[in-house]
């Protein structure tokens, strides 16, 4: 899968210099200032409103995740159906993934995984995680071995997000494609014409056939029969896919095909993009380490990056700040805090004080640095405990007898 960041390093073409860029959102490219309401309309998905969040709270008896409360995961398809079934006692499974294109993960990469972990714990359901090493081998022109190696390295960071090994199956395409999985791929492929994929993904005559035939690979983990070692006897099991909204095209295609081959449509719960440090107009890119906070950054690096590179909405001088307050619309530290500061009251307080000018940019940044440092340290510690054997265990094709307990 492409990354949930704005705009991604996966962008192939160079951006044209100029102001109002036409916004582009597809699995390999995200750019321009995104209007999420327009996107929801254009894609045809639905807003995740407060009543749904309340329903989740009632069904799971745990506080809803900060990403739900702050509208980070803001759109969905058929999430209500999942909850209806859950209420009746019909469980579901989760499916998410990552395209392992680089070793260095930044906070934006972690967001879907942090949310998925919450869903796994709150609903007590199993999870499959797809590492699309084949996709990156094709799109990023990596060797097969390198993409497989990156898949395993990324798996370690994913495991460090805290998934429960007794409910989680991680697989790489190069390892797992075949058997029942491949049979479903062919079933899906038969239902999608060449013209259709060109329409959805924008392929041209110059694109190689590997790319053109890839979409079914990302579609079929939505169907329980793709995992006979896990879901035999549970052909009716529903699937919920937490992902960034740029992945929607894959799953629109999947939902279109599903009923035609006798499967449930997968449900989706979608997030917005994580802004780059330099703000909405900045590019988060692997070649610019200062555009993002990486999970390998030291406390000092985090501090320097936030202090030096975070785009702020604060005024130029203390005096002006006290007079006019900060522009919260474009302020990156406040945006980042809304992602990662769990305490709703504290966040409201900061927004109020900073917006009115009683609090300075320096203080907001200081709080953000604390929050991010704690997050990155926790991740690093968890990552250090992930051994190769643990990766093998997560990736072993094995039964998960307690996956719904």
């Amino acid at each position: 899968m492409a990354d949930a960041v704005s705009p991604t390093a996966a962008a192939e073409e160079e951006k044209v210099d100029g102001v109002a860029e036409e916004e582009v959102v597809n699995p390999w490219e995200v750019s321009g200032k995104i209007d999420y309401d327009k996107l929801i309309d254009k894609f045809g998905c639905q807003r995740l409103d407060d009543s749904l969040i309340d329903r989740v709270r009632r069904l799971t008896s745990v506080p809803p995740h900060v990403f739900l409360r702050r509208g980070v995961f803001f759109a969905h398809r058929d999430f209500n159906d999942i909850l209806d079934a859950y209420e009746k006692g019909d469980k579901f499974y989760l499916y998410t993934g990552r395209g392992p294109s680089s070793e260095a993960l930044h906070l934006g990469h972690l967001i879907p995984f942090m949310f998925t972990k919450y869903l796994q714990d709150a609903f007590k359901v199993p999870l499959v995680i797809q590492l699309t090493d084949d996709e990156k081998c094709m799109w990023k022109n990596l060797t097969v071995e390198e993409s497989q190696r990156l898949a395993r390295e990324n798996a370690k960071d994913i495991i460090a997000c805290g998934f429960d090994v007794s409910r989680t199956f991680i697989f790489s395409d190069f390892d797992y494609v075949g058997g029942a999985f491949y049979k479903n791929m062919v079933k899906v492929a038969k239902c999608v014409t060449y013209n259709k994929v060109v329409g959805i993904f924008g392929f041209t005559g110059e694109d190689h056939i590997g790319k053109v035939s890839f979409p079914p690979v990302q579609a079929v983990p939505s169907f329980p029969s793709s995992f006979p070692h896990l879901f035999t006897g549970k052909e009716n099991l529903r699937c919920l896919i937490p992902c960034a909204i740029d992945q929607d095209p894959y799953f629109r295609m999947t939902r279109d095909v599903a009923p035609r081959i006798g499967y449930h449509k997968p449900a989706l719960i979608e997030s917005l993009f994580f802004p780059a440090l330099q703000g909405e107009n900045g590019k988060m890119s692997a070649s610019d380490p200062n555009s993002a906070i990486y999970v390998t950054d030291s406390p000092k690096e985090i501090k320097d990056k936030i202090n030096k590179y975070a785009f702020t909405g604060g005024q130029d001088t203390k005096e002006k700040q006290r007079l006019y307050g900060a522009n919260l619309e474009v302020d990156i530290p406040v945006k980042y805090l809304s992602f990662f500061l769990d305490d709703d009251e504290e966040l409201e307080h900061i927004k109020k004080e900073y917006g009115s000018g009683r609090m300075l940019t320096f203080d907001v940044k200081k709080r953000l640095i604390e929050v991010l440092t704690e997050l990155v340290e926790r991740h690093r510690r968890a990552r250090a405990a992930v051994t190769d054997e643990m990766v093998d265990a997560f990736m072993a094709v094995r039964p998960l007898p307690n996956m719904f307990n």
Partner: protein
């Protein structure tokens, strides 16, 4: 602690490996070895034990007359020019558990060598038999590449053959072709049992401005020392606490009592009086719940992994 020659040979016999054994006075070089087994059926091998700047180790096993250029190899591994050099003598004993002059693919039978990457010369495949030391300099054995592969698979290794004389271009659009052979874990000397946190072996591309060169070259245990040179305020705990229930519980109690002590102050006693217990208890739950759950999941995953390893390696009951 390491396997003996006898143990290795009996293991090969168990695997029905067809090898011919030649005993001779101890030899330290290929030339000396050739004096005794130069005319037998089988090609002599030369075996290099290498390490890179990030404490990762490699065995390169080649036909004696294959030309191995360490500079080229280093680039093909993605380590830049001059990224690999011969490993120090101590490493031989500590990691491979073989004496000087005895580097051999068979050394990977030892647990201590589990993170050593093994590169085998493609040339072995075109020979009927090849000659290696079976963990001891006073013996040489000749066997086919296929049989060597059988042995390697029996110890959980994937045999990887490489054209060692190839010199492919390595650049922006041509990634290093042997990058996959770089071990994902480095090895600390002298304490082999403590694995270095895998996050420490970062990729070349990542710009880590404050990792000083000394931290990489130092043989000291990486966890605490590397932490100091990286200027971290939090001390990285070694993974040991996640497999030891005692340490796990201690850590929970440490966190809980630290929070407890910080919550019970003159001020809070005055403020809450008799209800202080309830207040502090709620606070502990609120603030520690997710941290402790995170610890617990790591503990669970570690235990499961140990069980998984045991399960995949267990010997079926003898009938």
């Amino acid at each position: 602690m390491g396997y003996t020659k006898e143990q290795l040979l009996s293991r090969l016999q168990e695997l029905r490996v067809d090898f011919t054994k030649y005993e001779h006075p101890a030899v330290l070089t290929v030339e000396a070895q050739a004096m005794y087994v130069g005319n037998v059926e089988g090609a002599l091998s030369k075996n290099l034990f290498l390490k890179d700047k990030k404490q990762r180790f490699y065995i390169v096993s080649a036909l004696a007359n294959t030309n191995v250029d360490l500079k080229v190899l280093s680039q093909r591994l993605g380590l830049g020019k001059g990224g690999v050099r011969m490993a120090p003598e101590e490493a031989l004993g500590e990691i491979l558990q073989v004496p000087l002059g005895c580097v051999t693919p068979f050394a990977v039978i030892n647990e201590s060598a589990r993170h050593v990457s093994l590169l085998l010369d493609q040339g072995f495949k075109s020979q009927k038999r090849c000659i290696f030391h079976p963990l001891s300099n006073d013996t040489s054995i000749a066997l086919s590449a296929n049989d060597l592969d059988n042995f390697l698979r029996s110890v959980g290794r994937d045999p990887l053959y490489v054209d060692l004389e190839a010199n492919p271009k390595v650049g922006k659009d041509q990634p290093p072709d042997l990058a996959a052979l770089v071990p994902s874990d480095s090895i600390d000397l002298p304490e082999i049992s403590k694995k270095a946190p895998s996050s420490q072996s970062s990729v070349e591309k990542k710009i880590s401005a404050d990792v000083k060169p000394n931290a990489v070259k130092a043989k000291a245990v990486k966890t605490t020392d590397a932490v100091k040179t990286k200027d971290k305020t939090a001390i990285l705990q070694p993974p040991v606490s996640f497999s030891d229930p005692g340490q796990f519980v201690e850590e929970i109690l440490d966190k809980t009592s630290a929070l407890l002590l910080s919550e019970i102050t003159e001020e809070s006693i005055q403020q809450h009086g008799g209800n202080l217990g309830v207040f502090v208890s709620d606070n502990i739950r609120k603030r520690l719940s997710s941290k402790l759950k995170n610890l617990a999941i790591i503990f669970k995953n570690t235990s499961y992994t140990e069980g998984f390893h045991a399960g995949t390696h267990h010997q079926p009951r003898r009938q």
